[in-house]
Symmetry: C2
Subunit: 325 residues, 2 copies
DNA sequence: CTGAAAGCGCTAACAC
DNA sequence: GTGTTAGCGCTTTCAG
């Protein structure tokens, strides 16, 4: 593969001149510039980003580490990050931690070693090596889930309140025994949604299960609840992927959402209006979350000393048919 | 940030010894090795991947460029690529071309400049700079959609036949006026699904629209078809995202899938069984496609001269209620 | 405005 | 088994 010195040789100039013309930094004699450009084209020259980054000690790529590529919430968020990054000339590479602490750690390592300009992270676990990243000067902003113990930029949604309000909505709809299906303990969004629910029903009426943030786990957990001697007459569900499992559990028991079991789920999936009855949801501003996180990250990259900020956005309850009889 | 020479200095050895111990290549005296390790830990040493890659002239990262992160088909594929790459110690960075030829070109450039080990590409357009990549020695394997004009490794699904069979299934179900909603012209999967459909119904009975591979476009296009003087009594839909739009179009017209309009859609979305009636689909082996593509890529990286292979997988028709009255 | 040369951090010959 | 040294390909002073 052609290098900058090949180009220099062919154009009869120094490598410095080639570098200058190709980067349009300092001004160079038009005639020489022309020679450089044609030489580069003839050789099919492609700059070596590795060498450039090594020399410049910086990279124009951001890493986005999400907990689950198959969750529409995160893909929407990813698009937000991407769209904003693009406007500033950054590329973003997406890493799927898959709700797996090891994978997350590995990706964090890669990000560090490849010296990305910054990382947007939706933490799966305690993510201890974020501290390392930050200490070594790589900006990190947490999105969706806070980063325990470290004080850095964050963009979150007020998920506790959203869960509490959604539960109250169910109570207002006349449901008397409301259950909750939340995600794994230790995942902050799952914890918050659960405590929001508990706040609304009161500890003494607690009736919940925790499962993975996946359909299968939710199906089983919902089954347990539904097969209780006194089963719940309504359910708050912590995300749209889990909602699929819950809906399956209801279907196999010939239970109809709304009439038999009131339902509210987090995340406004594209299919939420397609099912019968349409699903009442707590819509999170996923795309905006992504944009905001990217914006914070870019700002932090530009100025490492600026004050730390936490942005909190609200979720919105969209009432449809599954939450009343 | 600590460098290898800092570690060397602190351990009282040469940089070569540090490199050797940390990479476990050649064998080094246990006592020195121990000193190196503790020195590295004390300094919080993190190898600089850029420098290493520059020197080694190789990277352990794969790029996966997909056409749409928000399409479950591609995210399943992504997991396949990731899972396989992981087993061989490669990281994969996901780039979302967003069905946009410019973005795809930009990511291809990034891949080239960052000197990734190889790229798995689901081409959005003619992707002319793939030729460049290959010419410069970066292996590329095409997945889902073939790469026009270049002969490289590919893993595809026999989507033409799948579309034809799905259409025949609809005909066998007694539908007489079958329409088709396919993706953009020039996108090979969209073209193939359309011609498969045409093969089944015959050119003289053609009744189709093309739209973007998104819900909104499909909703509009389906509306056009449905509002015809003699509307179709069944529809073949080119992917699950479009199916959402079609279902919306039917709902606003109080048309019931199956009874009023027979439906078969490509891609077995998680919600396909949740709607009423459940959706008949053509399930593609997305995850396996990803695995196979990654495997081919790794093989190609290991041996640039091995024969080119095209793997074709079959899709599977899953009959549910939406395709009969 | 241009070229020579140093050096980013690392690995791999090559010598000892 | 270990150290010295020459680069990987680029950018960027520093002279001229």
């Amino acid at each position: 593969m052609a290098t900058i010195s090949d180009v220099a040789a062919r154009a009869g100039v120094s490598t410095a001149t080639v570098s200058r013309t190709l980067n349009g930094k300092s001004t160079v004699d038009p005639e020489l510039a022309a020679r450089v450009v044609t030489a580069a084209e003839e050789l099919g020259y492609q700059p070596n980003g590795l060498a450039r980054n090594l020399r410049r000690q910086e990279t124009a790529v951001l890493a986005l580490i999400i907990s689950d590529v198959e969750n529409p919430f995160f893909t929407a968020l990813a698009r937000g990050v991407e769209d904003l990054a693009q406007t500033s000339g950054y590329s973003v590479v997406l890493c799927n931690a898959d709700e797996n602490v090891d994978k997350e750690r590995r990706y964090l390592d890669v990000a560090l070693q490849e010296r990305v300009a910054g990382v947007v992270l939706s933490p799966t676990g305690p993510a201890t090596n974020v501290a390392l990243l930050r200490r070594l000067g790589t900006p990190v902003v947490a999105v969706d889930r806070p980063l325990a113990g470290t004080d850095g930029d964050q963009v979150l949604v007020n998920t506790h309140r959203a869960a509490r309000d959604a539960t109250r909505h169910l109570m207002a709809g006349g449901y008397r025994r409301i259950g909750c299906l939340s995600g794994p303990a230790g995942v902050r969004t799952a914890d918050d949604r659960l405590t929001g629910y508990l706040d609304a029903v009161g500890e003494e009426n607690a009736l919940y299960r925790r499962a993975s943030y996946r359909a299968e786990g939710a199906r089983l957990a919902a089954g347990e609840l539904l097969d209780l001697a006194t089963p719940p007459d309504a359910l708050l569900i912590a995300n749209s992927t889990m909602a699929i499992g819950v809906l399956e559990a209801l279907a196999t028991r010939a239970l109809r959402p709304g009439r038999d079991v009131g339902l509210v789920s987090f995340d406004d999936a594209p299919w939420a209006t397609l099912i019968d009855p349409p699903l009442t949801v707590v819509a999170q501003p996923a795309y905006e979350l992504g944009r905001a996180a990217a914006q914070l990250l870019l700002a932090r990259i530009a100025d490492h000393t600026r004050p730390v900020v936490t942005t909190t956005m609200d979720a919105r309850l969209i009432v449809r048919e599954s939450s009343h009889r």
